[in-house]
């Protein structure tokens, strides 16, 4: 997207005084009446921790985050909160080539400094705990059993130093809910909060009713500068949102309002429903808020970009243009209306480099299989890295890997250790053009200790999404999976049965002993023991066979 590059360029030029902040909003109609909105906030300044001699303090970069990172010796931090499903086939590539999108739940990776891996993990622990209080999320569950250590260059880095003391650690919590309590601290990091600028459109009630939404926080070190990039993207089903403004529940439409297709059997009471193709999207209705005046820190650059095809007309305040348009926020609130005769015609979306789907195969509670399907829709080869972390209670058997194995160029595998670390499978894959390949491998399910089962153990265990990174910089994630393990019966009858059986076994054992065994005086007992020793038995057997 050109818009992003433009803004980035202007941002870099503005950094002469050491600090800069800019924000932009991209609105893009997607096929089938969906609207993609992507808010980006970038704050940059010189790192106060590195300043030598000069008086530098935290200005645009929030002090709270800076202090958390320096206390945890973290060089670079990436945090993702996501919900929903990105329909790659219909919607193409997520904003910024998928860089700011995450898998379902919460995902965090960071380059953490430390003398050795254990030290780095202690710092990661500190980081996760501090951030859990800051973002009101259970990031403190990112402990050793869930975190993996990757090679420092496995994931793209914005910084350039190849410091050997930096360890790349990554963990994900796919079951973590994302809600307003995560949005509130996110907004608190912004200089203008949600009172001015594009952030005035952010509202939990709308954001969490989307088809897909993601919030990301990226802190990068570039030279001696700190950069904080915050992105909120979501895909809204516009007719659904418009309907919800009228009535939050889908009550049946009044008879007069039904729009029907023409058929020879059409009548008053027979209606094949037809959806109107014309679109009239009022932004204040969709977001339930108006765009507030510009944030004073944000500079003059265009703040809002609308990427639409020519059949769309965009009305901003009094101006009406068609096609893509960009404008700046002024000192007055402004409303935006996108309308078109045919709302189903939109700009073509860039086809992603690769589609990755993952699912479970097999059945039963003892073992199962994992199947990943890679589809290359282009007529050129695509090479990608596929990183998968599986919890330790999925005992992976790498030798059972089957399927189209010739696409796999290299495998890097770290086996799991019970209750200590998850398994890590890193595949370097080269896909032939216009192909669909699948890879499967089998795993065994294990039984956990009783205190390791979560309170809703019969729900299952969530397996984090796998990450696929192509060489062109496109990153995508699969869906998470629900693993059902054998679960003990936590109810009282289970305990009663166990206790009763134990008592009966003890009783019966003693009883059988009493019946079957005979009590003899000790000398006789010793004699029997001697006679029935192994040596004697062998001799007796020999005698029987050979004869004396």
């Amino acid at each position: 997207m050109l818009a992003w590059l433009l803004v980035l360029a202007s941002g870099i030029l503005a950094s002469t005084n050491g600090e800069s902040y800019h924000e932009d909003l991209v609105l893009r109609p997607l096929p089938k009446n969906k609207l993609l909105s992507s808010f980006r906030f970038v704050a940059e300044q010189r790192d106060p921790q590195l300043a030598s001699g000069e008086l530098t303090e935290y200005t645009t970069f929030p002090r709270s985050l800076g202090q958390i990172m320096s206390r945890a010796s973290t060089h670079e931090l990436h945090l993702r909160f996501s919900q929903g499903w990105w329909d790659a086939e219909s919607w193409g590539v997520p904003p910024a080539n998928g860089t700011y999108a995450g898998g379902v739940g919460v995902e965090m990776w960071a380059w953490v400094a430390g003398e050795d891996l254990a030290d780095a993990q202690a710092n990661w622990h500190r980081l996760a705990h501090s951030l859990s209080g800051f973002f009101c999320a259970s990031l403190n569950f990112l402990d050793q059993t869930v975190t993996t250590h990757l090679e420092s260059d496995a994931l793209p880095r914005s910084g350039d130093s190849s410091d050997e003391n930096l360890y790349l650690l990554r963990g994900a919590l796919p079951a973590e809910p994302v809600c307003t309590e995560n949005l509130t601290p996110f907004i608190k990091l912004l200089p203008c909060k949600s009172r001015a600028g594009i952030a005035s459109l952010l509202d939990g009630h709308q954001l969490f009713d989307s088809q897909w939404q993601t919030m990301s926080v990226d802190v990068d070190h570039i030279g001696d500068r700190l950069r904080l990039t915050q992105v909120v993207s979501n895909v809204i089903d516009v007719p659904h949102m418009q309907r919800r403004r009228r009535d939050p529940l889908p009550r049946p439409e009044p008879y007069a309002d039904l729009i029907c297709k023409e058929r020879e059997w059409s009548a008053d009471y027979i209606c094949l429903p037809d959806d109107p193709r014309s679109a009239n999207w009022v932004i204040s209705e969709i977001f339930d808020k108006e765009l507030a005046p510009a944030c004073p820190l944000a500079g003059d650059g265009p703040h809002v970009f609308v990427e639409a095809s020519d059949n769309w007309t965009v009305k901003v305040g009094g101006n009406v243009t068609s096609g893509s348009v960009s404008f700046s926020l002024g000192s007055e609130p402004v409303d935006l209306v996108l309308s078109s005769e045919d709302g189903l015609v939109v700009l073509e979306n860039k086809v992603p480099d690769v589609f990755v789907d993952r699912s479970f195969t097999g059945y039963g509670q003892q073992s199962g299989g994992l199947r990943t399907v890679f589809t290359n829709p282009h007529d050129v080869e695509v090479s990608l890295v596929y990183i998968e972390n599986l919890p330790w209670y999925m005992r992976l058997y790498l030798h059972t890997m089957s399927g189209d194995l010739d696409i796999v160029e290299d495998i890097s595998y770290t086996s799991a250790e019970d209750r200590t670390r998850p398994s890590k499978v890193q595949l370097h894959i080269r896909l032939p053009p216009l192909s669909q390949s699948s890879i499967e491998y089998k795993f065994d399910k294990s039984l956990l200790y009783i205190e390791e089962y979560p309170p809703d153990a019969n729900h299952g265990f969530e397996v984090p999404p796998a990450l696929a990174l192509t060489s062109t910089g496109y990153s995508t994630r699969t869906t998470s999976l629900l693993l059902s393990l054998a679960v003990p019966d936590f109810s009282m009858p289970y305990n009663v049965i166990i206790l009763t059986c134990t008592t009966m076994a003890m009783f019966l054992g003693s009883f059988v002993n009493l019946i079957v065994k005979k009590v003899v005086p000790e000398p006789l007992g010793e004699k029997i023991l001697v006679e029935s020793s192994l040596k004697r038995r062998i001799q007796a057997f020999k005698t029987k066979l050979i004869g004396n």
């Binding site: 089938k32 919900q83 929903g84 499903w85 329909d87 086939e89 379902v104 739940g105 796919p174 079951a175 969490f208 009713d209 989307s210 088809q211 897909w212 089903d237 659904h240 309907r243 529940l249 889908p250 009550r251 049946p252 439409e253 009044p254 008879y255 039904l258 029907c260 297709k261 058929r263 059997w265 059409s266 009471y269 027979i270 209606c271 094949l272 429903p273 959806d275 789907d357 699912s359 479970f360 195969t361 097999g362 059945y363 199947r371 399907v373 809703d456 153990a457 019969n458 729900h459 299952g460 969530e462 869906t479 998470s480 999976l481 629900l482 059902s484 679960v487």
Partner: protein, 510 residues
């Protein structure tokens, strides 16, 4: 009998059946009619074209749809259509399946069910309360086509949506728009049953909508002993023949821990009764209740016998019956072994083992393990006749001691097998034990031994069953073998490897 059964209740607090208001009514009926007319328009087209039209309907609603081609043999194969509603706010790793096959279990055109499915898809998409994905499946028939789809979903299907938590099959085959009451089919293969809570939810929801719920094969009232007995017997019979006789569709989900039921609208020829949107509201409430669950169905019973929609017998009460029947064989075996004065000689033991081995081998060859080698059923019957004659000749050759040893051992093995079988397929074990109990009396009764042998012969019983079900015997055996091959139904294995050896032994010793 009073006191031996209990009333049903919803165990899982999370289900909250019919706590939320349903809105599939009024103008939605017009839409159901619209879809119904549209489907009737293209139902006579060739299969691929009509499926393409159906996928077009789902596409317009905004769902992702695809077709699934399947083939179990050179003669059997077709195409299914399925469509996925991705839950916008869920985690995408669980799914609820709604099925409306092109033809229902009796082969009638299921246009009401299909129209309802498409209009429900459109209606349910308006809600954003889904925690689980919804999958709408239209297989060509509720038997092998549906089974092929479920199997493919767990192995090779293009679009998947996570693990399936529950499934409801819709059957509304009449041409009218009204129905009188609803029949609930719940049997699974190999004695598997859905969690009782799923049926309880449906009954509660039907209550709230004033719709009567019946179990198949039984009448509207369940208050008399005779009615409940009839319901229970019908239930046991259905469990025994599940998979062999074309069923209602819900049994095709067995094997993957998916709880499934089939709802069938009955009595819909008149102009009175409930309308089709009431049926849709039943489905809407049940789907919403399954959506409310966080955990799999686990609270209520998995083993039960329904005496009526609101009465059931739990396993603790009915299992002793099967145990008594199978243990009677064991008791007989103990009696035989205990009444011997001397211990068995070495030759006896040798001959016993050899005979039992031969019997086992003959049974194995008749079972499905060699189904490719012995392709025709007539060949099978021939082999059976040969084995029987072999047994009759062995009868003349072997001594009394040997016969006793063989009888005792066979009874022991048979008793243990039946006991084990009754743990997971009560109906089959009980039915089998009931029919073959005379084999335990062979040494005790003086007369009518030939009659016993004749009556407990698998071929005879299968012949009677075929006559009752009104299909030729060869077809019945074919469908038994097919059920094992394609649907993993173990009935044929049970017949040939548990029952048949016992009968052969009976022939030898009588």
């Amino acid at each position: 009998m009073a006191g031996q059964f209990r009333g049903t209740y919803v165990s899982e607090n999370a289900l909250l059946p019919h706590q939320a208001s349903t809105h599939f009514r009024e103008s939605e009926w017009h839409i159901v009619r619209g879809f119904r007319s549209e489907i009737r328009d293209f139902k006579d087209l060739p299969e691929r074209e009509r499926n393409a039209r159906l996928m077009g309907l789902f596409d317009e609603i905004g769902l992702k749809s695809a077709s699934h081609d399947w083939q179990t043999s050179t003669t059997e194969g077709s195409q299914n259509v399925y469509s996925i509603l991705h839950a916008p706010r869920g985690s995408h790793n669980e799914a609820i399946v709604l099925v409306a096959p092109w033809t229902n279990m009796d082969g009638e055109f299921n246009d009401g069910g299909m129209a309802l499915l498409v209009s429900l898809a459109r209606y349910l998409k308006k809600w954003s309360i889904w925690h689980k994905n919804l999958i709408f499946v239209v297989p060509s028939n509720p038997h092998s086509a549906l089974r092929a789809w479920v199997g493919a979903y767990h192995t090779s299907l293009k679009y998947t949506a996570g693990s399936v938590e529950g499934a409801v099959v819709l059957d509304f085959a009449s041409t009218s728009e009204r129905f009188d009451h609803v029949e609930v089919y719940y049997d699974g293969l190999n004695g598997q049953l859905p969690n009782l809570d799923l049926i309880n939810t449906l009954v509660k929801v039907a209550d709230a909508e004033y719709v009567r719920c019946d179990l198949p094969g039984s009448g509207p009232s369940y208050h008399l002993y005779g009615q409940r007995l009839q319901t229970m017997a019908a239930g046991i019979f259905r469990q025994i023949v599940a998979g062999i006789k074309p069923g209602a569709g819900c049994e095709m989900f067995s094997g993957w821990r998916i709880d499934a039921i089939t709802l069938r609208a009955v009595g819909s020829d008149g102009e009175t009764g409930h309308d089709i949107t009431t049926f849709g509201r039943l489905v809407e409430s049940v789907v919403r209740s399954i959506n409310n669950l966080l955990e799999h169905f686990h609270q209520s019973f998995f083993f039960y016998l329904l005496l009526g929609p609101r009465f059931f017998v739990s396993i603790g009460t009915y299992l002793p019956c099967a145990m008594l029947v199978s243990n009677s064989f064991l008791i007989m075996a103990i009696h035989i072994f205990a009444s011997k004065r001397r211990s068995f000689s070495r030759e006896t033991i040798g001959l016993t083992s050899m005979t039992l081995g031969a019997v086992g081998l003959a049974s194995l060859m008749l079972s499905s393990f060699f189904v490719n080698a012995i392709s025709s059923t007539t060949w099978r019957l021939g082999l059976f006749a040969a084995a029987t004659s072999g047994c009759i000749s062995a009868r003349k050759l072997l001594g009394n001691d040997t016969k006793q040893a063989i009888y005792g051992t066979a009874l022991t093995l048979y008793g243990f097998s039946l006991t084990t079988l009754s743990m997971f397929n009560f109906s089959l074990a009980f039915g089998l034990g009931f029919i073959t109990i005379p084999l335990a009396w062979l040494r005790r009764v003086k007369f009518a031994r030939s009659l016993i042998i004749l009556l407990t012969c698998p071929v005879t019983v299968l012949g009677i069953a075929a006559w009752v079900m009104d299909i030729p015997l060869l077809d019945l055996i074919d469908s038994l073998i097919y059920a094992h091959k394609v649907l993993s139904v173990w009935t044929w294995q049970v017949i040939t490897q548990i029952w048949l050896p016992m009968w052969f032994v009976g022939v030898i010793i009588y």
